[in-house]
């Protein structure tokens, strides 16, 4: 989770400006009287020309509130200021102060831009390189700054002392930092564990415990008990092993959904086998709906085990629904069965597919196909 801190944005103000509107912009942003900002720039300019450089930098960076000056004008003004700054400040000062500061600024910018959560950093070599480069720039800038007026020897001494100091601080704080890191890691792991436990507890409570209660209540109704156990098993297995897909979106979850629904309502076993899986278009959804009718029909009239086999390839989706019932004569069936058969056929034909029914004394198989 990231928190965004809103910082009021500074703009260059176009009215009341003397040069680029930088001072008035900053004054507006900070709520200071404009003359204090101007005075600040002037005072800074007196000390080594920093005021001019800062002004130029702000001008380049701050957007104008109203886009009144064209880019060329802005660029020219910027260039003039930079050149002016160069002229104003003695060259030696530039070499001694401005350059090291600029190098440090660039280094620091690189480091700040690369700061990311440690986990992501670990995997990305490029990030590390950038980070090290940035740090190196900062160090070089610092050394150059301290080197002003000192000999190389003294600089090396300063660096050595700094390094020793850093190592010393590191050694002293190491156990503390390590301890904190360990604690943090342990805490995070514990949080993950307790979340998993809570999720598991919820799942077990909502499903298994509820079902066991129901089973105890219906102990004298074996049919009901079998159905409860089976639907619970299906749920639990889906939760444990299979990612749940959207029944509306692809074939395999669609058929699994049908099987679960029918098994919940009728004392039958629906065995679904899918080879390949595919996203459902309108035709596919019609196919799944028709398969649902076929399974329901088999559950009502045949019972026992119903085999649903589905194949999906690039050209076609096919579903076979087979039961072990006594079969029926398609020409001499009760009106309701024919009705269902006809509605299945009609549904498939409207979707550009086919429906065929084969039935004999060993059972009925309905074949549904639709272009993928």
């Amino acid at each position: 989770m990231t928190t965004q801190i809103a910082v009021p944005r500074a703009y260059r103000e176009s009215h009341g400006r003397w040069i680029g509107g930088v001072a008035s912009g900053i004054a507006t942003n900070l709520g200071w009287p404009i003359w204090t900002v101007r005075a600040l720039f002037v005072i800074l300019t007196v000390f080594g020309g920093i005021g001019v450089i800062a002004y130029a930098a702000y001008w380049a960076v701050l957007p104008a509130r109203e886009d009144d000056d064209s880019d060329t004008v802005r660029l020219l003004a910027f260039a003039a200021l930079v050149i002016g700054g160069f002229l104003l400040v003695p060259l030696t000062t530039w070499m001694q102060v401005g350059l090291p500061l600029a190098v440090m600024a660039i280094g620091a910018t690189v480091v700040w831009m690369r700061v990311q959560p440690a986990r992501r950093l670990r995997r990305d070599g490029l990030q590390w390189t950038a980070l090290l480069l940035g740090l190196l720039l900062v160090v070089v800038g610092l050394v150059a700054l301290t080197a002003t007026g000192l000999g190389l020897r003294s600089v090396l001494n300063v660096v050595a002392v700094a390094v020793l100091l850093l190592v010393g601080i590191g050694l002293i704080t190491m156990p503390w930092i390590a301890g904190m890191y360990r604690e943090l890691t342990a805490e995070r792991q514990e949080r993950v564990r307790s979340q998993t436990r809570a999720e598991l507890a919820t799942q077990v409570h909502d499903s298994v415990l509820q079902t066991l209660t129901l089973i105890r209540k219906h102990a004298d109704d074996p049919d009901r008990v079998v159905r409860l156990a089976r639907s619970q098993e299906r749920d639990l297995r889906a939760w444990l092993y299979e990612p749940v897909g959207d029944p509306q979106e692809s074939l395999s979850p669609g058929l699994a959904h049908i099987a679960a629904r029918v098994e919940a309502e009728y004392p039958v076993t629906v065995e679904v086998v899918c080879v390949g899986d595919g996203p459902l278009n309108d035709g596919g959804r019609a196919l799944v709906a028709a398969a649902g009718e076929a399974v329901l029909n088999a559950a009502k009239h045949a019972g026992g085990t119903i085999s649903v086999y589905a194949e999906a390839d690039r050209e076609e989706l096919r579903v076979y629904v087979r039961d072990r019932g006594p079969g029926f004569d398609p020409d001499a069936v009760p009106a309701d069965r024919r009705g269902i058969a006809e509605s299945m056929k009609g549904r498939m034909e409207r979707a550009g597919g086919q429906c065929s029914i084969r039935t004999d004394s060993r059972g009925t198989e309905i074949t549904l196909r639709v272009p993928a």
């Binding site: 092993y241 299979e242 065995e271 086998v273 080879v275 085990t305 086999y309």
Partner: protein
């Protein structure tokens, strides 16, 4: 008389299987984990081992690795995870049935395995088709693909047909159907190349 070892970590399941078997089966040993299973199988030399796919202390594949040759294996599971099932079949199990199988069907399956035939449930047939799908067009190696006939047999079994019905449907004898199934089993076990291997790797089967 078929001599049987039952490997399952649940006493209840073992008892259920033992109780449901007809008289011509003799349970010569039982085991609840991989170590016990290997020991029991080495001592008793059973004809058929009923092997639960999920065992504590390693999985069933370990038992197959340590005890190949001699006994025939029939995998038994409640798990629908195809990688587990294909995994044990690739290591030598001659078939796979789910634990909700009826005692009668289980006895038949054990007899078939003992006779050297393969046992394909609709679900296993589906897994096999899935594993070989896509391989056919891309490879010339016949170990890596099913013949049209073998595919027909697998599809009919996946559709819930009995071996008898498959034979009638294809106008062949039951023996021929069994031959096709054994051939598919052999391909599944021998083919460790290309598409199948890639499929297997993709699902975590080595």
């Amino acid at each position: 008389m078929i001599r049987l070892v039952i490997v399952d970590d649940h006493e209840l399941v073992r008892a259920g299987i033992r109780g449901g078997l007809p008289g011509d089966f003799e349970v010569v040993g039982e085991a609840a984990d991989v170590t016990q299973a290997v020991a029991v199988i080495r001592v008793t030399h059973p004809d058929v081992v009923l092997l639960d796919v999920h065992l504590p202390g390693g999985n069933a594949q370990e038992v197959l690795r340590q005890c190949h040759g001699g006994s025939k294996f029939l995998a038994l599971s409640v798990s629908d995870a195809s990688e587990d099932v294909i995994g044990v079949v690739r290591l030598g199990a001659r078939g796979y049935v789910t634990k909700d199988i009826t005692a009668q069907a289980l006895a038949d399956a054990i007899r078939q395995v003992d006779a050297g035939d393969a046992v394909f449930s609709p679900r296993l047939a589906g897994f096999v088709l899935d594993a070989f799908t896509g391989a056919a067009a891309k490879t010339d190696d016949e170990l890596d693909r099913l013949t049209a006939r073998e595919r027909d047999v697998m599809r009919l079994i996946a559709r819930g047909y009995t071996y008898r019905e498959v034979a009638d449907e294809l106008f062949v004898s039951v023996k021929t159907v069994e031959t096709h199934m054994s051939a598919v089993l052999r391909k599944l076990q021998l083919s460790n190349r290309r598409e199948l291997a890639r499929w297997a790797r993709g699902r975590g089967i080595e």
